[in-house]
Symmetry: C2
Subunit: 378 residues, 2 copies
Amino acid sequence: MTFDPETTTFLIAGPVRIHPRVLRAMSMPSLNHRGDYFHGVVGEIRELLPVLFGAKGRQLILSGSGTSGLEAVYSSLVPKDRRTLVLSNGNFGERTDLIVRRYSSSVTTISAPWGQPLPAEQVHAELAKGDVGAVCVVHNETSVGLANDLTAIAPAVRGSGALFLVDGISAVAGIPVEIEKWGIDAVVAGSQKGLAAPAGLALVHLSERAAAALHPGTFYLDLAAHLKSLEKNDTPWTPAVPLFLALREALLLLKEEGLATRLERTHRLAEASRAAVDALGLSLFPERRHASDTVTAIRNPEGLGDAELRKVLERQYNILVQGGQGALTGKIFRIGHMGIADWPDLLVTFAALERILGKAGRLPAPGRALAAIVERMP
Amino acid sequence: MTFDPETTTFLIAGPVRIHPRVLRAMSMPSLNHRGDYFHGVVGEIRELLPVLFGAKGRQLILSGSGTSGLEAVYSSLVPKDRRTLVLSNGNFGERTDLIVRRYSSSVTTISAPWGQPLPAEQVHAELAKGDVGAVCVVHNETSVGLANDLTAIAPAVRGSGALFLVDGISAVAGIPVEIEKWGIDAVVAGSQKGLAAPAGLALVHLSERAAAALHPGTFYLDLAAHLKSLEKNDTPWTPAVPLFLALREALLLLKEEGLATRLERTHRLAEASRAAVDALGLSLFPERRHASDTVTAIRNPEGLGDAELRKVLERQYNILVQGGQGALTGKIFRIGHMGIADWPDLLVTFAALERILGKAGRLPAPGRALAAIVERMP
């Protein structure tokens, strides 16, 4: 089948499928980014951002993708005179480490193997040594389909007085991020994940004490400059206007659905996916109790690599799922089910997987994966 | 008149009007940014970028607005161990100074008052003192409607061996930028100016020696990382996918028109605007021989401020032009005529200006401004 983006079942780990309302919002003709209408758009976005973050605070929009939001936060909040802890158990944890080390020479990295949970005791022990100014962690490790349990470390981080800086790029609007309860000081969300807007914007939530602690980082991503402009519904530099229009529409859609409803649907789709994986005789990559609700990472079965599985989904059935990154290339595949993904997406994907495994003589019981999904529908 | 972006005559100094083909390109459903189709899009863009720059070289696409491109270039090419010259005669020259000083403690700024040409002899004298590693200049100062004459300094910069780093955000595809002839090492173009794509992307051209001289700057805007990924038609971080699709379409439009034709039309529109300004009894803000072809900056006549002129254009005639920045607020207004701006835009704008001045009893000779435009049509 020739690739046709208009009819593809689109379940990669983000960017996710975009609602046509959001796509159409970008076709508005040029606006004066310093004029009343656009200031109004920025104002509406600011009023809607608490729906996304599930909390109020100092919330910013950066014209750059998720990584720009991370650099904005780390460059202006990682302390120069105290230690920073980086927690890492996947590709994005490693990226955190790379960024943070550009801005601090006193970094302690606590790692677990990709896909394994973070060692909370080790975090507690490092915090107990003292002098930690910031703790940086990826909440949802898309690369391995794992959600890090922040409740296991949040009280200790809060108790230490360190700033709690969270990469929530694929977590926000995908899994519960309890900003206030866990005492998070900065969260970065990507536009193209749970929110289901196009890629290209980073949304940042700051606590009051984080806003007060900002020091100059990079120029383009200067959070203090952005906060100051936003007070007038303005941006310090020219914004990516069409992406702002799309963001407004995606936030309106999220408000109409409700954050809790979106999280609940994402969770149900994840539970259904995991049950279907069992029924297919396949196995999850991460430990089951740490499996992410936004993306299900599945081990390729013996003898069925990318060429026999993922590429067939794509070419034969026009279903896009994602492969593994780095050392996991060809070893796992990942089905995203966040944003506006819904039951039809899941049904057609697992139907195709049943068919592929059936043809290969590797299907334990025909129909069982689909039945597992149907049973978990609302 | 209620603001209606669908029918507005849109002549601010950028973002500029976007062709419907380019707007529609953004409504394509989500793409896998690591898949074959999107790699193809990036490949096509790379093949088309020499049309934009009028030269071949190492050319990059950054998911950030023009300022991000400037920081990318200055942070990775301004030398840490030698002097940097910054030339400044407007708002964007001052911004250059701010960015460069984040990355070097040895900066000499050569300024002229806003709207006055740069003092070339002073540049020559500073270069003659030696130890200059980079020269940074804004080619087209949108803020004051002035084009800096790079031919007056290019041979000396080249002769000194310093890197020649040019903010071409509003120059590229608006006025001639002779990258090879003038020996420019880095040019930053904005997507939303002469190219007439949406705001949100920076395009960067590097000479071979600039590409070889890159040192680590910021993480998100790391030019070496971008160059490496681009070799595989890829990006190091998630790109702003819809903006890339729009960029491809805008580059195709530019290729169909031809860079020379676009520059010629922009020049003709500028000549016509200047003649019409004369006919209205108004005066240009910059020295005439340095007036920019992309934007005409006009002094507000005595007693007719923003409220009586620019705001009336907007409210009564749905024509958007731009006011002054900083100290020039209320003192000048600026008509952009780059990108896909064309004769109808100019005719309706000067017709409205004739009407406004006529009603105020300030029009020297009815019809003369429009006649001046008509005479300069092809």
